[in-house]
């Protein structure tokens, strides 16, 4: 080395590298060519033996004696070999295999312990992994679009009632033209059509989009082409894109679909392409058909008719906040420019991912927290079990240490046992998680799955594997270290001394007690969460509805607008539909409404002002529903003042309206609303007279306050998209098919959709469903946690009783009664349980504040829930220590004293 100057310069470093390489080679050789290294060692020692022999012979010893002498010198050849192996560091692999075999043997000997520990851990791993799979799919995986982190949803904002509100086409055009923060701004509108088919019309769902929508998302068609710029203009030929599933179900997957014509609401559209099977766009749900926007209806062209949403792509480096400021400024400018329509219309921008998963994020995080707590309890329980076991084995360990096992070897052995336990639990946990990932999505309602299809296809992502690995490794480390901690403390000699288990027992009692308090507290936190959530669900399902939900069905009806185009024809349709529905046996009464069924208000609002008051151009935005005379009585709604609509409230009579209680309170406080005039906030107010006040009816979500609501007679403005409500005198669900057939017999071009009983609608409504899912899963976690905590408490008390058998025997010999022994054991358990419950209640009430968005009608520190959980835990604790206490009380003093 060092032949040239340059190399010489780096000589020392080079040598170091060479040396390290040599060492590595040696170790590798020792590992990989074990038998060869071993035989070399043999040969080396044999050589030594022979030379020793030769020398002895040379000194005049008999060959046989020389051999014996040499062998004496080489005392215990095996021992030497072992030491050489240790020096080489290859004992590691060999010992590891031995340790695994030993650990398996140990665990087999103690089957109950092994099974309990593995099951508890597997339970924790399976549940947390399955929940994490949801979190991963919904919150961590990027959306399946090009550069998804720059995609934003763009909305109008109307404080306070509508923060993420629809956008009108004329506003969209201005926003697209005026903004300087987005690369591109496109538009989409959820839509639905009656599609003409062989056996009459069918309902198809879909969306109208601006031409650049798909290229903004970066989606390529499965085949065919996407919309081209200009195709969203009113004069352009009508084209349509099919979703992959619509192509398979409605068109049998036929290859010649391109260029075919589909008839939607009696207008022809040419199919130009089929989207890939993997494509979905959550904000419009399971869309089957996509058509260009082609603004031409009255609503499309009116600046005040808000019907769509914006989808934008941020310019590189532009933040959501910057875009928001940009659009707020544009909205303010438009507000000055078009005061009639744009008054109070702000703008709002958020990440598309936020729009899609924002609602389920808190739920998933709550569930993940629950699963983590459960895992924590499982960890604690198993740690406790291992400690108890280490305690029992104190003497075994001491004996082995005395026989020459090094501390390292003993630690390695305990570590191996932990690794074997954790491996078994992890495998079982993975299997369990896999099963849960398959079954849990089936519990989600179809509606949610159609919006978030990725929740239906949970799969093992690398992140998920990493999650499991992290749990397994931390578990293995914890379980390897915990018993060793205990091992270091008591002296080996002390452990060997006869009957000295008492001192070590105290050590465990102290540590075990801490673990159990932690467990009970954790279980309390989970129980509080579950309790509050079920309380919320309970409250939600008993919320004021303003209608009688039993024996009530709803059904949506869409008739071709072209057939029933004139007011007179639509009026006939309205009357015919009512006749058909009420003439069906089993139907007591029926009512019709435009703008959606109860609980599913579609957001149609109208602008009004109260006439006869000073007015400066402001408007009041209220949801409106047009209903037939029998609507309120069919729902079972209560009339508070005035009258319901009558058959004479038609176009030949003065315009009238009914308001709900919230409306009367908000706009006519301390006044009689009957006879008041309401009109449009424009120069021509077209006055409408209030004729009645009806009790608040729940037309929107269960968990929101019922807003002021305006009802008008359907007979004064008939519609072709109608929601029917019918009260039945028999099982409402069984009546639905007949009702549907009855209505379609009027005209096969009429379609019916979303038939459901009111009870089902309440149960399946999003607010109820999300709370139910959370409450059920949280309750599941809480029950498991309770079970594990009880097992933990039982373990500590039972162990303590077994350690104190002699002491109890002495006490009884000295006159303690069985009752006294019971009391003593229960006192010990009660103290632990009380500590755990107190800590748990405090932590739970604190943690429940994070649940606030999911709570309904209950405070995070609800005393009833907290009290009930304290009682439940106390009862569970009492149960847990009953068996050990009885065993203690029935100790036979003579035997107890003889046993040690």
């Amino acid at each position: 080395m060092g032949a040239s100057l340059g190399r010489h310069h780096f000589g020392s470093e080079g040598r170091l590298a060479v040396r390290l390489l040599d060492i590595l080679k040696l170790r590798l050789r020792a590992l990989l060519f074990r038998s060869r290294v071993e035989s070399e060692l043999d040969e080396e020692i044999r050589y030594h033996l022979e030379r020793d022999m030769e020398e002895h012979v040379a000194r005049g010893l008999d060959p046989r004696e020389a051999r014996l002498a040499a062998l004496r010198g080489l005392r215990d050849v095996e021992q030497r070999r072992e030491e050489c192996r240790d020096a080489r560091g290859w004992s590691f692999t060999e010992n590891a295999a031995k340790d695994v075999r030993f650990a398996l043997r140990q665990l087999r000997r103690d089957k109950e312990f092994a099974a309990t520990a593995v099951l508890m851990l597997a339970l924790g791993i399976a549940s947390s992994t399955a929940i994490f799979a949801f979190v991963d799919a919904a919150l961590l995986q990027p959306l399946p679009y090009r550069d998804p982190l720059r995609l934003v949803g763009v909305y109008e904002r109307l404080e306070p009632q509508c923060r993420w509100c629809n956008l009108s086409w004329p506003d969209y055009l201005d926003w697209k033209r005026l903004n300087n923060t987005l690369e591109d701004l496109e538009l989409y509108q959820r839509s639905g059509w009656r599609m003409s088919a062989a056996g009459g019309a069918v309902a198809v769902r879909g969306a109208r989009v601006s031409a650049g929508f798909f290229s903004l998302l970066g989606v390529q068609p499965s085949f065919g082409r996407l919309f081209q710029s200009g195709e969203d203009q009113p004069k352009a030929p009508r084209t349509a894109l099919l979703s992959y599933s619509a192509w398979r179900t409605h068109f049998g997957g036929r290859a010649d679909i391109l260029g075919q014509t589909v008839i939607l609401d009696q207008l022809p559209y040419v199919v130009i392409g089929v989207l890939p099977a993997s494509f979905h766009f959550a904000p419009v749900g399971a869309a089957e058909l996509w058509v260009p926007f082609q603004a031409q209806s009255e609503c499309d062209l009116r600046r005040g008719c808000h019907s769509s949403y914006g989808l934008g792509r941020l310019k590189p480096g532009v933040s959501v906040e910057a875009a928001l400021a940009n659009f707020a400024a544009i909205a303010a400018q438009l507000e000055r420019q078009y005061p009639d329509t744009n008054r109070d219309q702000g703008a709002n921008v958020r990440l598309l991912s936020e729009a899609i998963v924002g609602q389920i994020r808190p739920i998933l995080l709550v569930l993940l927290a629950g699963a983590t707590l459960l895992l924590l309890i499982a960890f604690t329980d198993v740690t406790g079990l291992l400690l108890v076991r280490a305690e029992w084995r104190q003497r075994e360990m001491a004996v082995r240490a005395a026989l020459g096992a090094s501390t390292g070897r003993l630690m390695a052995q305990l570590g191996t046992e932990a690794a074997v336990l954790v491996s078994a639990a992890t495998l079982l946990g993975i299997a369990g998680a896999h099963l849960l990932m398959r079954t849990l999505p089936a519990l989600l309602p179809e509606d949610l799955l159609s919006k978030l299809p990725f929740l239906a296809q949970l799969h093992w992502s690398p992140r998920l594997a990493l999650f499991v690995a992290a749990i397994a490794i931390s578990a293995a480390l914890l379980f390897a270290v915990a018993p060793n901690l205990l091992r270091w403390r008591p002296q080996i000699v002390a452990s060997l001394a006869e009957g000295s288990r008492g001192s070590a027992g105290t050590a465990w009692r102290r540590l075990g007690a801490k673990l159990v308090v932690t467990e009970i507290a954790t279980a309390a936190v989970l129980l509080i969460g579950a309790g509050l959530l079920s309380q919320s669900l309970h409250n939600l399902l008993r919320v004021h509805l303003g209608l009688r939900p039993d024996n009530l069905v709803t059904l949506e009806v869409a008739a071709p607008a072209t057939t029933y185009s004139t007011g007179a024809k639509a009026l006939t349709l309205t009357r015919d539909l009512l006749d058909r529905a009420t003439s069906l046996p089993g139907v007591q009464s029926a009512g019709l409404a435009a703008n959606g069924s109860p609980l599913t208000h579609n957001g149609n609002t109208t602008w009004i002002r109260v006439l006869g008051r000073p007015w400066h151009g402001e408007h009041i935005d209220v949801p409106e529903r047009d209903v037939t005379p029998g609507y309120f009585s069919t729902l079972g709604a209560k009339l508070l003042q005035g009258r319901f609509f009558s058959d004479t409230d038609d176009s030949s009579h003065p315009k009238v309206a009914i308001i709900n209680l919230a409306f009367a309170r908000r706009h006519f406080p301390g006044q009689n609303p009957i006879g008041q005039l309401i009109g449009q906030p424009s120069a021509d107010p077209a006055p409408v007279q209030v004729v009645g006040v009806v009790d608040d009816i729940r037309q929107g979500p269960l968990d929101e306050e019922i807003p002021p609501f305006l009802y008008k007679p359907l007979l004064q403005s008939p519609d072709t998209y109608i929601s029917l409500v019918a009260r039945t005198d028999q099982d409402p669900g069984a009546l639905l098919p007949a009702l549907s057939t009855q209505i379609r017999s009027l005209d096969p071009e009429i379609i019916t959709m979303r038939g459901a009983t009111m009870q089902r609608q309440i149960g399946a409504s999003e607010s109820a469903f999300l709370r139910r899912l959370t409450a059920y899963l949280a309750a599941g976690f809480a029950l498991l946690a309770l079970l594990l905590a009880v097992v933990g408490l039982y373990g500590v008390i039972a162990y303590s009783v077994s350690q104190r058998t002699r002491e109890i025997g002495v006490r009884m010999a000295l006159g303690a009664t069985a009752t006294g022994v019971y009391a003593m054991i229960f006192r010990q358990a009660a103290w632990l349980a009380a500590l755990g419950i107190a800590a748990g209640l405090a932590a739970g009430a604190g943690a429940a504040r994070f649940l606030r968005s999911l709570l309904f009608g209950v405070t995070p520190w609800d005393p009833v829930t907290l009290g009930a959980i304290a009682v439940l835990l106390a009862a569970a604790a009492a149960m847990a220590c009953f068996i050990p206490a009885r065993r203690a009380a029935t100790v036979n003093p003579v035997e107890a004293l003889r046993s040690e």
Binding site: Y47, R51, A87
Partner: protein
């Protein structure tokens, strides 16, 4: 229990390094030479020698290879590496320091 060596911990390594610094040798020869040089005072047992040799090899201080021995049989010869040479220097000066210190104490008392 008799641990690998009766010698002061670490001195066996020094002796081995010193012996093979002159020329590569096999295990038996190393033991012999230590005995001879020390005038039969230091007797290195196999139980101490071979583990020590293997440890030194692991440390990268010595290198082993099979060669034909003086009596025409295959034996494992140990030779010093560059790192070993440095270690030898370090260890010997350390030993000098230590033994001088011990001598001082022993004489003084």
């Amino acid at each position: 229990m008799s641990k690998p060596t009766d010698l002061v911990q670490g001195t066996l390594a020094l002796l081995i390094l010193k012996v093979i610094a002159l020329e590569p040798a096999h295990g038996w020869a190393i033991a012999q030479r230590i005995r001879q040089i020390s005038g039969d005072v230091l007797q290195v047992g196999t139980g101490a020698l071979y583990p020590a040799l293997h440890r030194l090899e692991q440390n990268g201080w010595i290198r082993a290879e099979w060669a034909v021995s003086d009596n025409n049989r295959r034996a494992r010869y140990y030779a010093l590496t560059a790192a070993g040479r440095k270690a030898l220097q370090r260890e010997s000066s350390e030993w000098e320091r230590l033994s001088a210190a011990i001598t001082l104490v022993v004489r003084a008392v």
